[in-house]
């Protein structure tokens, strides 16, 4: 089934349960359909992957056209990542170390907790039935990871939180001297990890240092990271999202460009909570949340496909 018909099937049946960090339910708005159409169009015409250099800022990489893009051009990167060939080696290393090929984890903030993110793919069969067949296969393949609560997906997390042993939550089985990253890797043995921290995080320039520490840890464990750009790109020159692009190139890892997915939505699908005016537009509305989980699933599918010939059935 081609991409447009997949999309029509998906949209025709309709997307339902949506929410925000406060888990609202709402029908799929029309604007989302347009955004999904545009998103999927990018998927339908992926760029040809090119070898990616170690130095992010000096050398360009694959982009949505034949011309390679630099980190500074991250806004033009495709929504669904072009997966670097080196990812397969990382994955194979992880398999040798005993990682679960059917498991993925999420490292993130309030937009990453299962109720808000992709939990419905584990809990709502009707929702899954609305997905294109290829994505339904991916849902089945990673069953159990979508709605799994963990110490690494917590509302108040920054990149630093993932490295702070005081943030490891005993209720999930973490040891007191273990950082959340290592706790999650030990408990779930994921082969893939979404990294989606950075919402309204703009106070210092240490974020990228912490992300490097996390990426080093993941790659040492043979785990494939999937970096995400945020809709509320923050900091001077959007540096929170720019950092993700820099790291994607520096580490040769995939980047899911969610920011680009929201360009068709009014205000990038963001709103300010009534009792949290000081935080500004940081929360994703229902349209954006639907787009968030769908493009995440597409990205997971793309990465799974990239290591496809080494995957167990």
């Amino acid at each position: 089934m081609g991409i447009p018909s997949r999309l029509l099937l998906f949209l025709g049946i309709g997307a339902l349960a949506m929410g925000s960090c406060t888990s609202l339910d709402a029908p799929l708005p029309t604007a989302t359909a347009e955004a999904l159409l545009r998103t999927t169009a990018v998927v339908a015409s992926p760029p040809t992957p090119v070898a990616q250099p170690a130095n992010a800022q000096a050398t360009p990489t694959a982009g949505p056209t034949d011309a390679p893009l630099t980190a500074a051009e991250w806004k033009s990167w495709p929504i669904v990542p072009v997966v670097p060939p080196t990812v397969k080696q990382v994955f194979q290393k992880g398999q040798a170390l005993g990682n679960d090929p059917h498991a993925f984890s999420v490292f993130g903030d309030c937009q990453s907790v299962p109720d808000i993110f992709m939990g419905v793919y584990d809990t709502d069969r009707s929702k899954v039935a609305q997905l294109p067949p290829a994505l339904q296969e991916t849902v089945a393949y990673f069953s159990g990871s979508f709605n799994r609560a963990s110490t690494t997906a917590q509302s108040d997390y920054t990149a630093a939180s993932l490295l702070n042993e005081n943030m490891s939550l005993a209720q999930y089985g973490c040891n007191s001297n273990e950082i959340p990253v290592d706790c999650e890797l030990r408990l779930h043995r994921p082969s893939f990890v979404f990294i989606m921290v950075g919402t309204h995080y703009e106070r210092n320039n240490r974020n990228i240092t912490y992300l490097r520490m996390i990426l080093n840890d993941l790659l040492a464990h043979g785990v494939v990271p999937i970096l995400e750009t945020k809709a509320d790109s923050r900091g001077p020159d959007d540096n929170v999202d720019l950092d993700m692009a820099v790291l994607a190139l520096e580490y040769n890892v995939p980047m899911w460009n969610f920011w680009a997915a929201t360009t068709g939505l009014p205000n990038h699908g963001l709103y300010t909570k009534a009792d949290e005016e000081a935080l500004g537009d940081i929360y994703l509305n229902d349209e954006a949340l639907e787009l968030h989980r769908f493009t995440a699933l597409e990205s997971l599918d793309a990465v799974r496909s990239a290591v496809g010939d080494t995957l167990p059935q």
Binding site: D156, T158, A160, L163, N164, N166, Y201, R203, N207, Y210
Partner: protein, 141 residues
């Protein structure tokens, strides 16, 4: 020398000795108390700087070797509202230029309607005296 004079002289010498001893003891006690207070106060100041988001003061109170880890803790709380509950710290040991401090109370981290409490009584802070100031060099728990 008459017995009366001898007695008077002995009394005077004893008084001087007692005075000197008292003075020395007072200095010792004062120094000890100040040092104890200062190490505990350094930890309290560090925690107050953490919750007040005063990064400059926070890092000024940490050892160079601990600064990176201290900043991870500091940045971990960047998205929450912080407060200290029932904080009290006291020095539990000192060996030359190093000391340990124990605190009671907790850090309260609020995000939306969720409040996470971090129990400080599980921690033993380790400090070093550098340039006349007690600096926090980490903690074990």
């Amino acid at each position: 020398m008459t017995p009366f004079r001898i007695l008077t002289r002995q009394i005077l010498m004893t008084r001087r000795l007692l005075f000197s001893l008292t003075l020395a003891l007072s200095f010792l006690l004062a120094a000890c108390t100040t040092s104890k207070d200062e190490s505990a106060q350094a930890v309290q100041s560090l925690l107050q700087a953490l919750v007040q988001r005063d990064e400059a003061h926070y890092t000024a109170l940490t050892c160079g070797s601990y600064e990176d880890s201290a900043l991870i803790e500091y940045d971990s709380f960047d998205l929450v509202q912080l407060s200290l509950k029932d904080l009290s710290c006291s020095q539990t040991g000192q060996n030359g230029n190093t000391a340990t401090v124990h605190c009671t109370g907790s850090i309260q981290a609020t995000y939306g309607n969720e409040v996470q409490s971090y129990d400080l009584s599980k921690r033993t802070y380790h400090l070093t005296l550098q340039g006349g100031d007690w600096l926090v060099c980490g903690y074990t728990q």
